[in-house]
């Protein structure tokens, strides 16, 4: 979806594209950061992150909820990265594609901070999630008819949810080091009756969601089992992220 802001399951009216997207985000000309706190965050990341501002390059409600659940003190900033200009077909695999998008989103926010002369250490994180079935990447439905079609196709089948995550750690003098990874979760759908699909689509939940469902909402009714990280299906693989971030900071600590 082309958007003036990077978005994932958001809904507001975008003047550039005319799309309806959730939760309006007011972009301030100068970014303000949340105060440090890390009240509930677990050690040792709590100590390793003490010197950094954490920035989520996404306004996805799901991703923000996962970061909040982990006690991360962060600012969520929309990325100006133009996803629509990136052709899926230019990549060998969906994993390469989501990794590129995650890096693009994070890099755009890093650049924005530089332009605003926001100094100090920061960790900017970008992410992108796609659903992959036999036929390839399944897009986000923007109409009820398309949502019906997507859910009918996924019914009784197994698909993969792939999230790419990019981490860019900036020191006082620019980019210091980075890392990126991909997390894959297999999801098995129950066989869904037309009545069930129609009822689910009528709630509006499937619209603008990758794969036309939200496993964290009413969509939990549809999912028989998963193999992998549940939070990856929601939109952000938190366990692997914490492991990678901890290793990255330990390896590069001075």
């Amino acid at each position: 979806m082309r958007s003036c802001f990077s978005s994932f399951n958001q809904r507001y009216f975008c003047k550039n594209t005319g799309h309806i997207i959730l939760n309006p985000v007011v972009v301030q000309s100068t970014t303000r950061f949340a105060e440090p706190g890390f009240a509930m965050m677990l050690s040792p990341l709590k100590e390793l992150l003490r010197e950094y501002r954490m920035v989520l390059a996404s306004t996805s409600a799901q991703r923000k909820a996962i970061w909040q659940q982990m006690g991360i003190n962060f600012s969520a900033l929309p990325s100006s990265f133009d996803e629509e200009s990136v052709q899926q077909t230019a990549f060998k695999t969906p994993s390469d594609y989501v990794c590129y998008l995650a890096n693009g989103k994070a890099s755009a926010v890093v650049q924005k901070l530089k332009d605003e002369r926001n100094t100090g250490r920061s960790i900017v994180v970008g992410a992108d999630t796609v659903i992959v079935a036999e036929t390839g990447i399944i897009g986000k439905p923007h109409t009820k008819d398309k949502a019906m079609e997507t859910l009918g196709y996924l019914s009784g089948k197994t698909h993969r949810v792939i999230t790419g995550v990019a981490i860019i750690v900036s020191g006082d003098t620019g980019v210091s080091f980075d890392d990126s990874f991909v997390s894959t979760t297999e999801v098995v759908f129950s066989s869904l009756s037309k009545e069930l699909i129609q009822s689910y689509v009528e709630t509006g939940e499937p619209l603008n969601k990758a794969g036309a469902y939200g496993i964290q909402g009413l969509g939990s009714r549809l999912v028989e089992s998963i193999t992998g990280d549940y939070y990856n299906v929601v939109g952000f693989p938190i366990n692997q992220f914490c492991e990678r971030l901890e290793a990255l900071l330990r390896t590069n600590s001075t």
Copy 2:
């Protein structure tokens, strides 16, 4: 855990046992039911349940949250069933054990409704969840030392989460029909450092939780992957429950 009320991850002071349990529940001498609504519940269950009062024979905050997420209009009632009097060793498998407990919890609430002369159609659901590792069933830790020990043992290993669910459908003249089933999810823990475990235990989240973690909270940091239903790990396998309940009502509809 012996308790004057059936409880799962609750905390209040029980005068019979001295245990500290979460969320006090006031038991009324005459049970009052929620008004029917099913605003967000999906079809066809929405229509099949129109004639029934839904009763969750549990005061677990997690189970109540899952039912609310599914749009089920229900009353949560504590069960007087005495879990502590049931010996695990009397059962061939953990599955047999949780099924027995789930049935016991549901049956006690059905009896309570009868005693109170609560007439009308109702569906009473009991559930019990255990964690099973190589050494057998892992209990709920009531002290921080025990939580440290449990998490240290589960670190880097795979364990199983098993939930038994019992459904008792009552007509106007008593028990009409019932069903029960077991859901199993495999959970793989990351290798946890002592620092991480200690930090997690200090938050208090592991106390009185099966396996000493909550996958829906900070415990998500610990879980590398799962195979099966995520909501089963939280405490209630909602997908299989909806499938079984729908089949049960269709088979026995008059």
